[in-house]
C-alpha cells in the first residue's frame, strides 16, 4: 500500500485563498513510489507539446507572433485557452477537495470564480481588444504619460506574476513529488525548464496550444470521472446526495452553506477580489490580443464562461461522489482511520484520507478508472501546472520587454528584433527565478500568495484599466496615484491579515491560534475603493496642461474603443 502523510501541504497551490486553506504548508512530503503509467502518459504529453512548440517556432517571427500568436486564434480556441488558464490544478483538486470536506461551500467558491467572467465580457473584453496591442498596459496608458503608467503597470504585473508563479511552483513541486514519486527539486526544475522551452521557442502560439490541449484533456477526464461516478447512483443527484449525507461525518450540514462565509464584510471582500481580480490578471488580459477582433474577443469569453461553468459543475459532482465512493475504498485511508473490520470510521472520512483532501479527485480517478486513468489524471494535473506557468511567464516577460524596455527605456525607438530578444531573455530570467524561488519557498507557507495576486490585480490593475476606458476626466497623475495606492494598500493589508501576520510571521493569541492585526482576510473591500478614490480625486485636482491634453484625447480613444476603427489587427486584414 502506498503510504504518505501529507497534511495540507498542497494547499499552497491547490487552495487559492487562505480562506479555504486548512492546516499550514509544513513539513516533509513522504515520497510516493514512482508511478510508471503516470510518467509515460506525461512524457507523451510533453512529446506532443514539444512537437507543437517546434511547429510554432517556425511560425513565430514578428513581435506580434511572439506576444499574440499573430492575432490568429479564433474565439472558440481562445475560449478554451482562457478556460485552461482558469481550470488550474487549484480549481480541479482544491475545489473537489473542498466539496469533499465541506460539501456546499465548494460551490460558493466556484461561483465566485465564475461570475467575474460576464463582467469582463460586458465591460472590458472588446474594449481592450480594440485599444491594445500586446499587453494591458497598452490600454491603461493609451492616452497617458507612457513612462509613468507603463512603469507602474509593469511593476504591478510583475508583482502579480511573481506571487502567482511562486505559489504554482511550490504547489507543482509537491504535487509532482506526490503523483510521480520524483524529488521536489527535480519537479521544480522540470516544470521551469519545459515552460522556458515553450515560451522562448514557441511564444504565444505554443503557450496557447499547450493550454488548449490541456483544457480538452482536463474537460474530457473530468467528464468521464463525473459520468462514471454519477452512474453508480443511477444518474440521480438526489440518490448521490442521500448517500453522501449518510456517509459524511457532517451529515446534513454538507447540503447547505457552512463555515466558508461567516461574516458579510469578509464575504463581500472575497467576492470583490474574486470577481474583479480576474479582470486584472495580466496573463488573462493578454489572451484578448490573440484574437483578430472585438467580435472574436467577445465570443471567446462566451465559450470560456461555458467551459468554466461546466467544469465547476463537474468538480462539484466529483467531490460529492467521492464522499460515498472513497469511503468504500479503505486502502485510500490511513491505518488509524480504519475500524477493526477494515472499514473507514465515519469521523475519519475527511481527516483520515491519505494525502489530504486535495488528493480526492486523484483517488476518485483511481476508484472509477483504475491505474490507467489514475495515470491519465495525474499527467493532466502536471500538464495543467505547466500550461499555467507558461502563460504567467509570457505575461511577465511581455511586461519587461514591451512595457519596460520598448516603451520606457528605449522610448519607442527599439526595433522588433531587439524587443523579441529582450522578451526571450526575460523569459529565461523569469524561468530561472521561478525555479530558484520555487526551491527557496519549498517549506514556506505560500497559501496567501495567490490570494494576494488576485487582490493586487483587483486593486491596482483593474481600477486603472476600467477608469481609463470609461472616464474621460482621468489624467496620468490620477492613474498613477490610484494604481500605486491600490498596490501598496493591498500588500500592506495582506501582511497585516491572519494569513501572513499569523500563519507566516507566527503571531499567536493567548490560545496559541494564529491571529492577524486586522480581522480582514482579503484586502479588496478597502484597497479597491481606495484606488478608485485616489484616481478620482487626483484627476479632478489636476489642472496641468498635460491633463488638459489627456482629457481632450479621450474622444478619439473612445471612438476607437467603441468601433474598432484604427485598432491593431482589426484593420490589417
Amino acid at each position: 500500500m502506498k503510504r504518505f502523510y501529507l497534511w495540507g501541504v498542497l494547499l499552497a497551490l491547490l487552495a487559492p485563498f487562505a480562506l479555504v486553506a486548512g492546516p499550514a504548508v509544513t513539513g516533509e512530503v513522504e515520497r510516493q513510489a514512482i508511478n510508471v503509467t503516470a510518467i509515460i502518459m506525461f512524457l507523451v504529453f510533453v512529446a506532443g507539446t514539444l512537437g507543437i512548440t517546434y511547429w510554432a517556432a517556425k511560425r513565430t517571427r514578428s513581435a506580434k507572433d511572439f506576444y499574440t500568436a499573430g492575432g490568429g486564434i479564433t474565439g472558440f480556441q481562445n475560449g478554451l485557452a482562457i478556460a485552461g488558464d482558469f481550470m488550474s490544478a487549484a480549481s480541479f483538486l482544491g475545489i473537489s477537495g473542498l466539496v469533499f470536506a465541506s460539501g456546499y461551500d465548494g460551490l460558493i467558491y466556484s461561483i465566485g470564480f465564475l461570475v467575474g467572467w460576464p463582467v469582463i465580457m460586458f465591460l472590458i473584453a472588446e474594449q481592450i481588444r480594440n485599444l491594445g496591442k500586446f499587453t494591458f498596459a497598452d490600454v491603461s496608458s493609451y492616452r497617458f504619460g507612457q513612462t509613468q503608467i507603463r512603469t507602474m503597470a509593469a511593476i504591478s504585473s510583475l508583482v502579480v506574476v511573481a506571487f502567482y508563479l511562486i505559489a504554482q511552483m511550490v504547489g507543482a513541486g509537491k504535487l509532482i513529488q506526490l503523483l510521480f514519486g520524483l524529488d521536489y527539486w527535480m519537479a521544480v526544475v522540470a516544470v521551469g525548464a519545459l515552460m522556458m522551452v515553450y515560451v522562448i521557442f514557441g511564444g504565444m502560439t505554443a503557450t496557447t496550444w499547450v493550454q488548449i490541449i490541456k483544457a480538452v484533456l482536463l474537460l474530457a477526464g473530468a467528464t468521464f470521472m463525473a459520468g462514471v461516478a454519477l452512474s453508480t447512483f443511477g444518474f440521480s443527484p438526489e440518490e448521490m446526495f442521500r448517500q453522501a449525507v449518510e456517509t459524511h461525518p457532517k451529515a446534513l450540514a454538507i447540503m447547505s452553506p457552512g463555515s466558508l462565509v461567516t461574516d458579510p464584510v469578509n464575504a463581500i471582500s472575497l467576492g470583490l477580489a474574486l470577481m474583479f481580480g480576474t479582470a486584472g490578471l495580466p496573463h488573462i488580459l493578454m489572451r484578448f490580443f490573440t484574437v483578430p477582433d472585438a467580435k472574436e474577443a467577445r465570443k471567446s469569453v462566451f465559450y470560456a464562461t461555458g467551459f468554466i461553468g461546466y467544469f465547476y459543475i463537474l468538480t462539484f459532482i466529483i467531490g460529492f461522489a467521492a464522499i460515498v465512493l472513497l469511503a468504500q475504498h479503505p486502502e485510500f485511508f490511513k491505518p488509524e482511520a480504519l475500524a477493526a473490520d477494515g472499514s473507514v470510521i465515519k469521523d475519519q472520512l475527511v481527516k483520515g484520507i491519505n494525502g489530504g483532501t486535495n488528493m480526492v479527485a486523484i483517488r476518485l480517478a483511481e476508484a472509477v478508472g483504475g491505474n490507467l486513468f489514475l495515470g491519465f489524471i495525474s499527467a493532466v494535473a502536471f500538464a495543467t501546472i505547466l500550461a499555467v506557468v507558461a502563460g504567467l511567464t509570457l505575461a511577465g516577460a511581455s511586461a519587461i520587454s514591451h512595457d519596460l524596455y520598448a516603451s520606457v527605456i528605449a522610448r519607442g525607438r527599439s526595433n522588433e528584433t531587439t524587443e523579441i530578444r529582450i522578451s526571450k531573455i526575460a523569459t529565461f530570467g523569469l524561468g530561472l527565478l521561478a525555479i530558484m524561488l520555487g526551491i527557496a519557498f519549498e517549506s514556506q507557507n505560500v497559501a496567501f500568495m495567490v490570494g494576494l495576486a488576485f487582490a493586487i490585480a483587483a486593486s491596482a490593475n483593474f481600477p486603472v484599466l476600467i477608469t481609463s476606458i470609461f472616464w474621460g476626466k482621468m489624467t496620468t497623475n490620477g492613474a498613477l496615484a490610484g494604481g500605486v495606492i491600490g498596490l501598496i494598500s493591498a500588500v500592506v493589508l495582506t501582511i497585516l491579515s491572519k494569513a501572513v501576520w499569523g500563519d507566516v510571521l507566527g503571531h499567536v493569541d493567548a490560545d496559541g491560534k494564529s491571529v492577524g492585526l486586522i480581522a480582514l482576510n482579503n484586502p479588496a473591500i478597502i484597497s479597491m475603493p481606495l484606488a478608485f478614490f485616489f484616481i478620482w480625486i487626483v484627476s479632478l485636482l489636476d489642472h496641468s496642461e498635460q491633463a488638459k491634453r489627456e482629457r481632450h484625447a479621450f474622444e478619439a480613444q473612445r471612438i476607437r474603443c467603441e468601433t474598432g476603427i484604427g485598432a491593431e489587427g482589426a484593420v490589417d486584414h
Binding site: I108, G112, V115, P118, F122, M255, F302, T305, G309, T563
Partner: protein, 102 residues
Amino acid sequence: MQQDSVDAIKAHPRYQELVCSRKCFAWNLTVIMLVIYYGFILTIAFAPSLLGTPIAEGAVTTIGMPIGVAIIISAFVLTGIYVAKANSRFDALTKAIREDLQ
C-alpha cells in the same frame, strides 16, 4: 486619428446610438450579474439556513443546490445574451459608421 475624423464620427447619429445603447445594455447586464451574485453571498452571510431548505418533503437535496447551479448557468446565459445582441445590433451599427466614413 485626425481631429476632423474624430468630429465626424462623434457627430454621426449611428455612433451616438451605438455608444448609448451599448453602454446601457452592458451596464444593465453587469448590474444583473452583481445583484445575482451579491444576493447569493448576502443570503449566505445573513440567512444561510434559507439555502438549506429541502426542495421537497423528505428530500435530501436542498434548494441551495439548484440555486447554485442556476447562478452558474445564468452567468453563461448573460454572456450569451450580450454576444447575440453585439453580433447583430452593435456590429451592424459599427459597419454602418465605417461605410459612411469611406
